[in-house]
Symmetry: C2
Subunit: 527 residues, 2 copies
Amino acid sequence: MTAPIELTGNLIIAGNEVKGTQKPVSAVNPATNQSMEPLYAGGTETHVEQAANAAWAVFDQFKATDPETRALLLETIADEILALGDVLVKRAMQETGLPQARIEGERGRTMGQLRMFASVARAGKYLDVRVDPAMPERAPLPRADLRLQFVPVGPVAVFGASNFPLAFSVAGGDTASALAAGCPVIVKAHSAHPGTSELVGKAITSALSKMKLPAGIFSLLYGSGRDVGATLVAHPHIKAVGFTGSRAGGTALMNIAAARKEPIPVYAEMSSINPVFMMPNKLASEARSLAQGFIGSLTMGAGQFCTNPGLVILKDGEGAEAFIDEAAQAIFASGTQTMLTPGIYGAYCQSVQLLVDNPNAQLVAKGKMSDAETNQCQAHLFSTTAEAFLKDDSLEGEVFGSTSLIIKCGSEEEFKLVAEKLEGQLTATLQLEEADYEEARALLPILERKAGRILCNAYPTGVEVSHAMVHGGPFPATSDTRTTSVGSAAIQRFVRPVCYQDLPEALQAPAIKDANPWKVPQLVDGK
Amino acid sequence: MTAPIELTGNLIIAGNEVKGTQKPVSAVNPATNQSMEPLYAGGTETHVEQAANAAWAVFDQFKATDPETRALLLETIADEILALGDVLVKRAMQETGLPQARIEGERGRTMGQLRMFASVARAGKYLDVRVDPAMPERAPLPRADLRLQFVPVGPVAVFGASNFPLAFSVAGGDTASALAAGCPVIVKAHSAHPGTSELVGKAITSALSKMKLPAGIFSLLYGSGRDVGATLVAHPHIKAVGFTGSRAGGTALMNIAAARKEPIPVYAEMSSINPVFMMPNKLASEARSLAQGFIGSLTMGAGQFCTNPGLVILKDGEGAEAFIDEAAQAIFASGTQTMLTPGIYGAYCQSVQLLVDNPNAQLVAKGKMSDAETNQCQAHLFSTTAEAFLKDDSLEGEVFGSTSLIIKCGSEEEFKLVAEKLEGQLTATLQLEEADYEEARALLPILERKAGRILCNAYPTGVEVSHAMVHGGPFPATSDTRTTSVGSAAIQRFVRPVCYQDLPEALQAPAIKDANPWKVPQLVDGK
């Protein structure tokens, strides 16, 4: 049992609680539209400056910590989050409208991520150490001793996401992978869950204190994206940015980062409509169960996932009508769910209305409506033709919520044309059976160009945290298609390679020494 | 013996020779300022479009080739370049003013790079294959079968460099690594060596033909960077850019790439002044030999290297005067060398004049002058104080040629302040002996933040092509500090990760199959 933590509404700057001075926000319970205590006053440029300076001041020290220290820090953060107990779960539920099981599951996922990055830090594979020993006798020129390791890039700005108040927020995947790499982190809290953010921020601060590590490794700021967020990304001490959110928000940060005197990488996970291709034989044999699975994935969590299946592509023919009929019935039977914020609810209604008003889209079905609570997501299913989709770019816009569009194709050729038309995606799904393999083989190279994850006979919601996961993809799914924001490879976003030529052994970092005290993998002469 | 190749001045678009229609350029022999036949008429937007469409049309096919095919292609290109024989060597000498031994050495290096990337393709480590096997019994949720591999990003635009007409040009490191990854390449030839470019372009085209690979894998365009270059980088079918050249040129491409509807990565290797820190004990004991080594590195190849030592930092004290005196004598004794182009010569003279006119810099010595040939680089050595350097940003500008600036510091603290003041660098050098280790230990974390390669008791010119090399560094040394443009890790610039979830074995790419027919390293469950 730990003492209950009182929320203060204070910024956390290198362990110090500081009251913001800008326009305050308070959390709103989306199920009731009622505001919650306390007020969170926004930070100023001075607060950004203080946090950035504090991170910069401790960067060299944090960079030099051994993997075990960083691993223990991450594990201690996980313990501290768990120690917050029901206080955290309840506050997160109130601030997001998400049910208890979901928040508890997400807490488990967040702790799992922190522990996985602890093991990634310990394993040291991400350091990609390479040793090319000296060849003093080589002719015509001798070769020097060359040793490569990846080092942390510097302080990282992390923007919490609205839809995962724990797993993609203050101590989410971006923070965990940046800390594992040895980068101090400054989080710009999402205004939708400031209390949850404060609680988790205090857990991180407490973990740093328990580990006797400098408090400057972590700061937590509130305020508007335009002020605090933009100032943070433009600050010369910030060397990389992690963001999960809207396309507009992500591209704004990309533009700020590109316009800096020293441009820096932005890892923004933004916008994806996650096409699901129903291959003809599979559709013919399992139309109704496919439809049930689809609507289950679509309506889960009010569709507020970046991997929500927003597009279904199928061919006229056996099973097509049955699929649409069954999906329509499932939508019709679906109840409402509270959306994360009034703003997200408003944007959802607007996006749905655009489809309702679009002559290229036909409403197939919509879910029940409820007046019991506010900000209720009513599921919608629309359909269009491939011909219309290929002409009308607006049909490719992301609708954040339980709305999907079925594209009816007349031929295999149209299937491919629709695939080629797509922008970059986090996922692309194939529902197929063996008789569909040949057609799938023609589609795969296209999908591989479009998506970071290709999945078969499942739906894209649900992202495993593991070594082989890719939660990324070509723009606009992310700002940087070479990376992933989920899974162990996410740490590579926050490191850069340095080569040491003939550096005396006494000055070598442990990872590149022949004695290899950290026991990290070393590629010697390419082997 | 092969038949002599006649230069035509034609663009090569997917194997077809096409006459450009824009303002022509001809190569100029910088030693005589005489123009050489033939004229190279610039390409148009239509030519860019044709080359990009051709590359796009064959991308899926090239992507699907096995590593052995790509390796043989690279080895065949190396053979075809060698088969050009003296024609290539002579033309490159005439177009660059570089001596025969240098061009022959660079040809060897170019072939070595092509062969190294052949072995990188064969080894398959760069694919970073990860397999997380399915866990159907896992509670509360089963795990799907997840397989990750890196796939080529798409067609790559490569900009040839002026200072390495072979190793960083048409078939240089960018092209070799992109082809090894499975990316088609469109080269914008450097206008300073169009004939060399045409010869090498024909060697690549011939290799593709011999390998019976589609000609669209390679195109070669002439024309201005502003027209052909900018159009190429903006083309939606281009998915990455490799560039070696000036800061102005590189940042222009970065801006174009960032402003695209789909932003793409730019790998620009741009600007570095490569600081050399003379540690006090080393300087005290070896001042004169250090000075000789320094001037040897500075004047090699008229200083036209991205790793040219443009800055020497030393402390007043024992050895300092001896070092400066010896360096001055060596500079004074140095003869002139032909620079690569009249434009580069003009820019060099202008940069030197800025230092001459700058009251913060004192001329220490200059080399002999020669009127025998045109565009002769006269070496210059300047000095300044740490105090002046810290105030005057202009002293940090790159001078492309044999000119360097000595910064005299009064204290260890000033040493560190100068290091902190530096922008991003390709290299940072420490001249040190054991008694200097403690002071070096304080400097290393700063240099690690600033440079991609840290070297000891050598000078930075000379870049080994190996596994542990990093030829990269923070902006403005490069546009992307997470990468290298030399060494086997350079291939990672042109690939992106894709995860396959429950993809049937029959549809899996060879690299991710359990049977592993390509015998690539596979990380199974993180091990």
